[in-house]
């Protein structure tokens, strides 16, 4: 009954969002210049450093297109605010697959303006990538990440996009690529407060090469700096640390680490001898850059 209710609720919610999304908004997009002037119309593109805004009503038969220098533009606002909020709610409730169609529409609307978007508008890009990753659409996530990540202007969205890429590359079995993303993340000085995936990837790779000392040190990084808040992939890091400590015969250390893992309420699953992803076919996607072991101990 509960499941049925949930399904009904999901369908109902989708129907509502569908209505919200396709109820054509009469509101116009807005462009605000640096001197505070507001221009309404339809944002139709950006080229050569100029934003094009088309009038939506005009006394004459044709609708004029105005061009604005991006240097003189403070920001732009889209008319689909309700849709954005609706998508954010579905995404926030972790219904990633449901969120994808909505987010894709929002993304395509904003794509020409990537680089000058406000953070709230740019977040639809990172949310979409994370939704792809959570819905096992790894290749789509990686492909889009490559297209967009250099243009993302905001720190948070850039980080979220990288996390999505790391998750996808790792889950898809593209280990070299995952290692490259992870090393970039660490080299950039990002912390493990949001996600420990970068350290997990590099630690697991070290573990695969029987380099338990490195595996231990790398996986310990997010653990050492973790506070009480839950951290994505921290349980995996604990598992790698414990396995490496066992391999290195540090039994007393295992007891202390296990104590903390238990106190955090983490369920540490025993590690298999063969990592699960090695069974996946490996396409020829090896990248020229390999993680440099000397740089593994980056800034968490």
């Amino acid at each position: 009954v509960k499941r049925l209710n949930t399904r009904v609720a999901t369908h109902l919610r989708l129907a509502i969002y569908f209505c919200v999304f396709f109820s054509v908004s009469t509101k116009a997009d807005t462009l605000i210049t640096k001197d505070g002037q507001r221009f309404e119309g339809r944002l139709i593109g950006m080229e050569g450093g100029y934003i094009s805004l088309q009038e939506t009503k005009s006394a004459s038969a044709s609708l004029a297109i105005h061009r604005f220098d991006t240097e003189e533009t403070a920001h732009i606002e889209f008319s689909d605010k309700e849709q954005r909020i609706a998508a954010a709610e579905i995404y926030g409730n972790q219904h990633y697959a449901d969120a994808i169609p909505l987010l894709e529409s929002l993304v395509f609307r904003r794509l020409p303006f990537l680089g000058i978007l406000q953070q709230k508008d740019e977040e639809v890009f990172s949310s979409l990538l994370l939704s792809y990753s959570a819905s096992s659409l790894y290749d789509r996530c990686l492909g889009r990440h490559k297209l967009w990540h250099r243009k993302l202007a905001h720190h948070k969205t850039s980080k979220d996009s990288s996390i999505a890429a790391m998750r996808s590359a790792w889950a898809a079995g593209y280990r070299d690529e995952a290692a490259l993303f992870a090393q970039r993340w660490i080299d950039a000085g990002y912390s493990s407060k949001q996600s420990a995936i970068a350290w997990r990837i590099l630690a697991e790779l070290a573990e695969e090469k029987d380099n338990y000392e490195d595996a231990l040190w790398i996986s310990l990084q997010p653990i050492a700096f973790a506070d009480a808040k839950p951290i994505d992939q921290l349980a995996e890091c604990f598992a790698i640390t414990l396995a490496a400590a066992k391999r290195l015969g540090k039994d007393d250390y295992i007891a202390r680490l296990s104590e903390e893992a238990t106190a955090r309420g983490l369920k540490i699953s025993p590690r298999n001898a063969t990592p699960p992803n090695t069974a996946l076919p490996k396409p020829n996607r090896s990248l020229p850059l390999q993680p440099n072991p000397n740089k593994l101990l980056g800034n968490p």
């Binding site: 990084q221 050492a224 506070d227 009480a228 250390y253 202390r256 680490l257 101990l297 800034n299 968490p300």
Partner: protein, 909 residues
């Protein structure tokens, strides 16, 4: 009274009920609570008996407002009267009741009538319909209880509220107050329970800030109280200041938006809300301001987290934290570097610890941490076994320190280093000096104890015993008393006074159990066994608890022997098997396997015996770090009918693809079992040629290094270096010293040779290189004209009962030669004569002794004795073919000629 005053007034003006109510409402709306209270009170006093009052149910409408206005105006009696009267009415609305009761509680509280306030809280709790309201009333009651001195009752209630099903915000509030109260009352265990045991359930300010501050405070207390893990949990709950400022800014902005929205919506209640909002906004702004002005505690929090890790035995995490902190130097940089160094040391990275310490000393040479770092460097060097370097650092510490106690400590460690270097005279001097001059009595006694230990190491057991006995008589330290008594018993045992050793050990065992009980029990067993009192010995061995597995394993050797002698083979089997399950050390397991295999063989269970050995070999044979493999191979090969195919089958069972370690061990076993010396040497050299040095276990590196050194190959040094680098704790390390020493001898570097060879202690007697290394050392001393030291070595070897007559002859020959070279011919002759008299069966030495004895007589001018010696020498058949015989004959002829010339000269004269 008001009416009375009004009547007395010359300008009497009567307000209508409507105008009074209007006045009251207007004053209330504008926040003029005294005027509002006055107007409502006046309306009540004047018109309450009027029918209109009753009909319009004005009590119900006016009294709560009147009560609240009076409360705000500070007219508490009036407020209480109005609210109490209202609550006596029967038909008020529920929402009004809540409002009135809450205002009444506040009025009682403000009026100082805490008991009534508490009673009213109880009523509110009972009458409230929702959990939230009940818990809100309870929270107020708890605060009243705390304010009225009923602290334990109040605290208990707070905890109940925190654990209740009330509104989250109220529960959180109760939890916060309870935490604060526990901290103020120093009830840290309770504070910890409240703060850490459950999630915080809030992401709101200012609760998060208050919880963060409380966590920091509690963490500090727990860290100081030696509870690093609990402290760590507290520090992990603290949010960074930056995050708190962000949250507070967001909250302030949200509240401002909410305020602006509500202002338009509210009617008369707007005043209450405005007042409320203004207070809240002012408070939030003040909090934000405080947060912005506060010093960022993040570095201190990380520093404390690092300390927690360090104290909780998680030095790797501590390392990571301190390393990161050290990247952005603050005023605490020296302290952070010192702690980083400590972490590195605790994590077992001694070289890194030393390097961090040296950086600290270089950067902050005058800081206290630099001095501590220097000490830590010295200790790290000690741990590394780099005692010479450690001695240098301790010398710097003595020089730098102005504190006598610190100097004494540094000297004590210096003595320890000398003892570890087997520089016993130096060590003894240091300890004796400290025993006399150290400032602290415990250090004096420790030094006294170490004087005894050094003597024990020097095998001067009687002297050691005397030292321990004198210390045992004088010391007040129970620890040293136990140690000394145990050592006295050990000295008795070493002096073969087994009865004394056993009796003393048993006296000690009768005392209260202590950290040496297991060892004393083992000693008692060994002593009784030496006295052939096997039953008592066995009883001691069996009484060692299995928890002391190392001692139990040591006891198993003696116990097994006794059980076998008594034909209690099954018991021996069961005993060894039971120990086996508790053993973890691979070397001990190999030893156990050897014993067990012997027992199985004694039971005629050859197959089982082989199985035990094979199992141990398959499990540990390919592990280069396990040292006890050769005896296993030796034993198994003796049981094997087809050793070649057995070796192949064992190698097949090894799971690793690289079986170099076991293969090279098989090759070493083959080499060491060759009948002829040169065959053995050839096989050893073959091992050196066939295997990568990196693949060889320590025993293979050792024997091949020695063989290579014997042919003066430079490769021997590579092998020797591998042992030192990869197996610094292996007992085979002495082969490396031997190889380096031997090479130095070849190069004619006597002092270098001595430096290497003197590291080979008496505990290496089991190895074939022991005697050769001692002889090489003596020869090197002789080369350097240090005849006294050379003779001391020979003499000490002569005392060794394990050497056969051939060796004894060689040693006597060496001593005699030394005297000969020094020109001490009398002594040389004495030794030569002793040699050919006692060891005539060894012509290579005895023949030479005869000849050299004659030479010595000649040097002394005793020609007749010289000729007589040669006559005796050449008359013995067994020397007939010896090269020195012809030299003797030549000498005799020369002597005879000299003597006849001499006679002629005397005659002429």
């Amino acid at each position: 009274l008001l009416i009375g005053t009004a009547l007395a007034s010359p300008n009497i003006s009567y307000d209508t009920l409507e105008s009074l109510i209007q006045k009251g409402v207007n004053a209330f709306s504008s926040g003029n609570y005294p005027a509002s209270s006055e107007a409502f009170q006046s309306a009540f006093d004047t018109y309450r008996h009027e029918p209109e009052w009753e009909e319009s149910r004005l009590s119900e409408k006016i009294l709560p407002l009147s009560g609240f206005a009076s409360l705000k105006a500070g007219l508490y009696d009036r407020s209480i009267m109005a609210l109490a009267l209202f609550l006596e009415e029967e038909s008020y609305a529920y929402s009004q009741e809540i409002f009135a009761r809450y205002a009444l509680i506040l009025s009682y509280q403000k009026n100082g009538d805490i008991a009534s306030a508490i009673a009213e809280c109880n009523t509110l709790e009972e009458s409230a319909h929702s959990h939230s309201l009940k818990s809100l009333a309870a929270l107020r009651r708890a605060q009243l209880l705390l304010d009225s001195g009923k602290e334990s009752e109040g605290a208990k209630l707070l905890i109940e509220i925190a654990q209740s099903e009330g509104a989250q915000r109220v529960r959180q509030q109760a939890r916060l107050i309870a935490i604060r109260k526990s901290l103020d009352d120093k009830q840290y265990a309770q504070a910890y329970e409240l703060l850490v045991a459950k999630p915080w359930e809030t992401e709101a300010m200012p609760e998060l800030a208050l919880l963060s501050i409380a966590s920091l405070e509690l963490g500090d207390h727990l860290l100081e109280a030696g509870k690093p893990l609990d402290a760590l949990r507290c520090y992990q709950r603290v949010l960074p200041l930056e995050e708190l400022i962000q949250l507070q800014s967001r909250k302030l902005a949200a509240l401002k938006r909410q305020f602006a929205q509500r202002q338009a919506e509210l009617g008369i209640a707007a005043t209450i809300w405005e007042d409320f909002y203004r207070q809240i906004l002012a408070s939030l702004e003040a909090q934000l301001d405080t947060l912005r002005k506060a010093q960022d505690y993040e570095p201190f929090r990380q520093l404390r987290k690092g300390k927690c890790y360090l104290l909780a035995g998680r030095p790797r995490e501590a390392w990571l934290v301190f390393e990161r902190l050290a990247r952005n130097p603050t005023e605490f940089d020296p302290k952070i570097k010192y702690l980083w160094m400590l972490s590195a040391r605790d994590a077992g990275y001694l070289a890194e610890a030393i390097s961090i310490g040296r950086e600290l000393i270089e950067k902050y040479p005058d800081s206290k941490d630099a001095f501590d770092a220097l000490r830590l460097i010295a200790f790290s060097l000690q741990d590394y076994g780099q005692y010479h370097e450690a001695i240098e650092v301790f010398a710097t510490l003595v020089e730098k320190s102005t504190d006598k106690k610190q100097q004494d400590d540094a000297w004590f460690q210096t003595g320890y280093c000398h003892a570890m270097l087997q520089e016993y005279p130096l060590a003894k001097n240091v300890f004796k000096n400290l025993r006399r001059n150290a400032e602290s009595s415990p250090l004096k006694e420790q030094s006294h104890f170490w004087v005894g230990l050094v003597l024990f190491f020097q095998t001067r057991f009687q002297d050691a015993l005397d030292e321990f006995a004198s210390l045992a008589k004088t010391t007040a330290s129970i620890h040293l008393q136990i140690e000394s008594d145990f050592r006295i018993a050990s000295c008795h045992y070493a002096l073969s006074r087994y009865a004394e050793a056993a009796e003393l050990a048993e006296v000690l065992l009768a005392r209260e159990s202590n950290e040496r009980t297991g060892e004393i029990r083992l000693l008692a067993g060994d002593a009784r066994k030496a006295l052939s009192e096997d039953d008592d010995a066995l009883a001691h061995y069996l009484a060692i608890p299995i928890e002391l597995i190392t001692l139990k394993h040591a006891a198993s050797m003696g116990a097994t022997e006794i059980l076998v002698q008594k034909n209690r083979i099954e018991e021996a089997d069961a005993f060894l098997t039971s120990i086996r399950t508790n053993l973890h050390d691979p070397n001990a397991l190999c030893e156990n396997a050897l014993l067990l295999a012997e027992i199985k063989l004694a039971k005629n269970e050859k197959a089982e015996s082989r199985a035990v050995l094979e199992h141990a070999l398959v499990r540990f044979g390919n592990d280069p770090d396990v040292q006890e493999i050769l005896p296993l191979i030796e034993f198994l090969s003796s049981l094997s009918a087809d050793w070649v195919s057995d070796q192949r089958s064992l190698l097949d069972k090894i799971t690793s693809t690289d079986t170099s370690a076991l293969t090279s061990r098989f090759a070493l076993h083959r080499a060491l079992n060759r009948e002829h010396y040169h065959e053995s040497e050839t096989e050893l050299l073959a091992i050196a040629a066939e295997f990568e040095t990196e693949a060889l276990p320590p025993e293979c590196l050792a024997y091949t290094a020695a063989a290579l050194a014997r042919i003066d190959s430079p490769r021997s040094e590579k092998f020797a270096q591998q042992i030192i680098d990869r197996y610094p704790n292996s007992r085979y390390i002495v082969f490396a010293y031997y190889a380096f020493g031997k090479r130095a001898v070849y190069r004619g570097e006597g002092a270098t040779a001595i430096a290497w060879l003197s590291r080979i202690g008496a505990d290496s007697e089991e190895f074939s290189i022991f005697l050769d290394s001692r002889l090489l050392e003596a020869q090197s001393h002789a080369t350097l004209q240090e005849f006294g030291q050379a003779e001391a070595i020979y003499q000490s070897l002569l005392k060794n009962r394990s050497f056969g007559p051939a060796t004894k002859a060689k040693l006597l020959h060496g001593i005699a030669d030394l005297h000969q070279r020094r020109g001490d011919y009398e002594q040389a002759i004495a030794y030569y004569q002793r040699l050919y008299t006692l060891y005539g069966a060894f012509p290579e030495y005895a023949a030479h002794a005869y000849y050299q004895s004659a030479v010595a007589f000649d040097k002394l001018g005793k020609t007749a004795e010289a000729i007589r010696t040669i006559d005796e020498f050449v008359s013995i058949d067994r020397y007939k073919n010896h090269a020195t015989v012809s030299e003797g004959i030549t000498l005799r002829a020369k002597l005879l000629e000299e003597r006849s010339t001499q006679i002629e000269k005397e005659d002429e004269s």
